[in-house]
Symmetry: C2
């Protein structure tokens, strides 16, 4: 593991590290914010942030002012890339498949199954690495945006007991029912829709073993709302299953980081309360 960037930030330090991922079979980069307490060696809870389509580890660390909130709650924040990367890694010319579009699942179909194991990476390999190299406690939260909102919900729902808190901005709540998800799932998982159910938050909520409360923010002027996001499907699934959900529709807000920044403080408060209690 090797540092790529290190910047003082809000009394702590924003880093970018690169490492060889055994799970993904390529070099990966991730952002990690270390609050002042972590720099002193004190173990701190970790919030994982999963970004959306086309993003790298850079988007969240440069555009959300996450460091301010991380400093307030003294949380380590880890922001991985959104897919395996590199010349030997399968790709597609479209922005919504291949590199930059890993969908946080473990692909079963060639050519994707060789490298696209992002679920294993974000839920296992990366936390193990973080907990080894930084003063990270085992209190973990997870959050994300859009494809990364899907990733956060699905990762938490698939790992009962592993995360203390979860939240999402503008998540793809039902990938099996919307074009972005159907395209990616067909490529990565094949045509058998039964295999899709394990990677779909709306399906997973129905049978979840743990009822971890979900906090979801969604802008009403989001250009992807009707076609790809459809938060009402999550609302209905949570109501049917008795799964606790706080779904906030934010009038006038779109899909951008301007939206995320505006409400990120509430998400950090949600995670900070769960992770620091």
């Amino acid at each position: 593991m090797e540092p790529v960037e290190q910047h003082a930030s809000y009394g702590g330090r924003q880093d970018v590290w690169k490492h060889a991922s055994a799970v993904l079979g390529c070099e990966m980069r991730f952002g990690v914010y270390l609050p002042e307490a972590a720099l002193r060696g004190e173990r701190c809870p970790v919030l994982y942030w999963l970004s959306g389509l086309t993003c790298t580890e850079q988007n969240f660390i440069t555009k959300a002012d996450a460091q301010r909130h991380a400093a307030r709650h003294q949380l380590i924040v880890v922001a991985p890339d959104t897919s395996p990367r590199g010349d030997g890694v399968a790709d597609d010319p479209a922005y919504d498949l291949g590199q930059g579009a890993g969908f946080y699942l473990d692909a079963t179909q060639p050519p994707w199954s060789r490298h696209y194991r992002m679920q294993d990476y974000v839920a296992q390999e990366l936390p193990a690495l973080v907990e080894q190299h930084f003063p990270a406690s085992e209190a973990r939260g997870i959050a994300g945006h859009s494809m990364g909102g899907h990733g956060a919900l699905v990762t938490a729902l698939r790992h009962p007991g592993r995360y203390r808190s979860v939240s999402a901005f503008s998540p793809i709540v039902a990938p099996s029912q919307v074009p972005w998800g159907q395209k990616a799932f067909t490529a990565y998982l094949g045509d058998d829709r039964n295999a899709w159910r394990e990677w779909d938050a709306v399906d997973l909520v129905a049978t979840a073993k743990e009822r971890l409360p979900l906090l979801v923010d969604q802008g009403t002027d989001d250009e992807f709302l009707q076609q790809h996001l459809r938060p009402e499907l999550l609302r209905d699934a949570c109501a049917a299953a008795g799964h606790p959900l706080t779904l906030r529709l934010q009038p006038g807000y779109d899909h951008s980081y301007y939206f995320i920044a505006s409400f990120l403080g509430d998400h950090f408060a949600h995670h900070g309360t769960a992770l620091r209690s």
Copy 2:
């Protein structure tokens, strides 16, 4: 004038507009944040932000979380581009001359004198446009980073009575004495060093007609500190002239937006107090 982007942000709206600049002889873009009071039509003070080398109107509006502070103080924030732009505009392959490196001065030397009139643009044409199209009061503040910190200091010092507040991050305080400034001034203003004095904050402070207090933040781990920034020259000039200066050396901070974001709240408080009093 035509809108390019509009995003809800912290209860207000972050816009990007484009317009034909008569002063610069090209199309220009600028960011403008309109706090909630401005969207309701209430006149608000305006803070102008001048960015550094290689930047466009995008850097500050996407990386600084300025909207949060603008919302708190209900200030309009205007972020222009850093030079004239376009195919017909003189340029240089280097990052520190030509497009992206206007230095906020009015060039007198060909080929630059045709379009490079950024001082006239930021001090006259742009405020007139802003005050015509948005509910802007005539209370103006100005701030900036690096080349834009130079721009903010020089613009305020050249226009006594025009700005109520000024501040800078990592400014080029004495362009006549450092390589970035010497290269740009030679190209834009020619070899006569007397002509440079009108565009150099350290020179202007000596004879300033107005003693507007300066707030300057500088990171001690800034990679450009010794060669290009040299805040001690401003400290000495202000001491000699009796010009009020708050110079804060921030241990461990570099030249990046991580530094700016960490202390921008203090600058907005400085401007908000002056502009809202």
